[in-house]
Symmetry: C2
């Protein structure tokens, strides 16, 4: 703990100033940021998208295996993902941070460094925040604002019968990464001398610790003039999100199990844990891929895109939400997902 | 604990649905609210104001003497106050809530009921939120969005030499209320049978537990065509806010101690605690009054307003920030305010 600065030495205003001194502004819509009662934004006629996400220590992250820089990066990216999920562009965030006074300034600067990295990559401005102490643990809440043209906003509710159901990237990887981290933590607790070889898990660990949001997919939509009929991001697992999307759109769906994209390293990792890859893809969280539906006429525009998989199609509401196995058996899609309020 | 619903019984999505089912939308700028990845707002050319405030159990509130309904009300009002402090109108909020799974649904419904009451009074829409569990304690983070005409936004940075310094209402009352609550808690801990007589403290308790924001002052400005040269809300105490305002405006100030408005009940209450009323007014937090400066030519417009007091004037930056006593002694304004990171 040599040379670390205690938060009690610098106080709340000193902290806010120090944390934000390296902020860079990327957007001309940011007229005024930290230092007044409010930030001032001007979207010049575009519509405003707003979303908020909270993360609590011990529930959403474990500081034993989560570097603070990665945590800051992920906290931002998971918020940006909600804006992309409406076909918008994230532009600004405000950060609420509550930490025990036992944290050092340097620890929080690491966290902010990660946030700034994410903001740099996605060209988002940090325009405000509140930093207070907590009795114990760390709590991060980020609110993101973004913009979209009125005609371009894609909701969860627009899917219609016969639309194709698509997902970006691959699923289950973040969950596989989490399993590895939890195992390493247990090993480390038993034997702190143990040096794990994490190289075979690099991809799944990165998906868990430093996920990315689907900016490139939104850009592809623009480039190819694709307007999905409905869309949402996959943060709680494909099964849960399919049910949400169908409920909001008042439709049913058929999803083909063998069409769900799963990365080879994810499959190998899950094998070690004796978990079926499909189970992780359907119910593992934090993939931040996009689930969307398109009109069949747009199929030509996406069929050669490596990052997009067609996994099924929309049916009538009365038919429910179904999974079809390679053996052609049909079963109901059920959401297991993450329930943070389960009894311990 | 009879008939209470455990959060573990209803899960995260059930909780969000139940908490938000009685929400009312007041603003046509709210196009889409809870139920999608983002809320969608349209301010039709107006500028966007954004601010965020976090409150942690045991630091900002003590559930022993804070009814959850009041807590919800106050959490909203303290955010609205930041928008009024820029001469804007609060329009939407998103709510991040992290609570231990030991809370009941009914407790959180009380909290939300208080938030809805505040939103009804100030005509603000709840457009989103995130509700997660915490390992211990409750953490509330609210982000508020509001709108203002470009030419009407008032920053902290516009005060100029010879401007008059004004405050709304009266100061120190919320701090007096806090002292009473802390004393009653100590008495109650020693003797749970004791029934306190809180009637003599009604006003200061209300200022602490159920504060209001200065909507009416913003309306008055509009009505009388007053555009303050600078403004901020008083949440950390007048002394701290004067220093902020002068720093941002690059000016100095002279504030007359006997001009600082303090309510009679505040004075009587503080006497019991042997605290000078001026000390509470200067350093007590959570009053949510407005501190603003106006050009001298606007004096006529405010001189008969009972809710506005002129407490001093702006000087040259080189003269510093000064308090003038009734005996005409001058001293430096120093911020004690609240520092949440002080060593315990």
């Amino acid at each position: 703990m040599d040379n670390l600065t205690l938060l009690s030495e610098i106080g709340e205003f000193g902290l806010i100033e120090k944390l934000n001194k390296d902020n860079v502004i990327y957007n001309k819509s940011t007229l005024l940021c930290i230092g007044d009662d409010c930030a001032v934004l001007d979207y010049e006629g575009k519509q405003i998208l707003v979303s908020t996400d909270a993360m609590a220590e011990g529930v959403h992250f474990d500081l034993v295996y989560t570097p603070l820089k990665h945590l800051g990066y992920k906290a931002c990216v998971s918020n940006f993902s909600d804006i992309y999920a409406m076909n918008g562009e994230p532009k600004q965030i405000v950060i609420s941070l509550s930490v025990s006074s036992k944290y050092s300034l340097e620890a929080l600067q690491e966290l902010y460094e990660g946030m700034r990295l994410a903001c740099k990559k996605y060209k988002v401005d940090i325009v405000g925040g509140d930093t207070t102490s907590s009795k114990s643990g760390m709590f991060i809440s980020i609110t993101v604002m973004g913009q979209a043209d009125k005609q371009q906003i894609v909701k969860r509710s627009g899917a219609k019968k016969n639309d194709l159901i698509c997902v970006t990237g691959n699923l289950g990887a973040a969950y596989a990464g989490l399993l590895v981290l939890q195992r390493e933590k247990a090993t480390f607790m038993a034997n702190p001398e143990f040096q794990p070889d994490l190289q075979p898990y690099e991809y799944v660990l990165q998906r868990q610790l430093k996920p990315e949001a689907q900016q490139k997919t939104i850009e592809l939509f623009k480039e190819k003039s694709i307007l999905p009929t409905s869309m949402m991001d996959i943060s709680d697992g494909l099964a849960s999100e399919c049910l949400h999307l169908c409920k909001e759109s008042k439709v049913g769906c058929e999803v083909y199990l063998e069409k769900i994209p799963i990365d080879y390293q994810t499959i190998k990792t899950l094998e070690e844990f004796k978990i079926l890859p499909e189970t992780a893809a359907l119910n593992g969280g934090e993939d931040y891929e996009l689930l969307f539906t398109i009109d069949q006429k747009d199929y030509e525009k996406i069929k050669d895109e490596k990052n997009i998989s067609v996994i099924g199609y929309i049916t009538d509401e009365s038919l429910g939400c179904k999974l079809v196995t390679p053996q052609n058996t049909t079963m109901d899609i059920k959401a297991q997902g993450f329930n943070h309020f389960t009894k311990e």
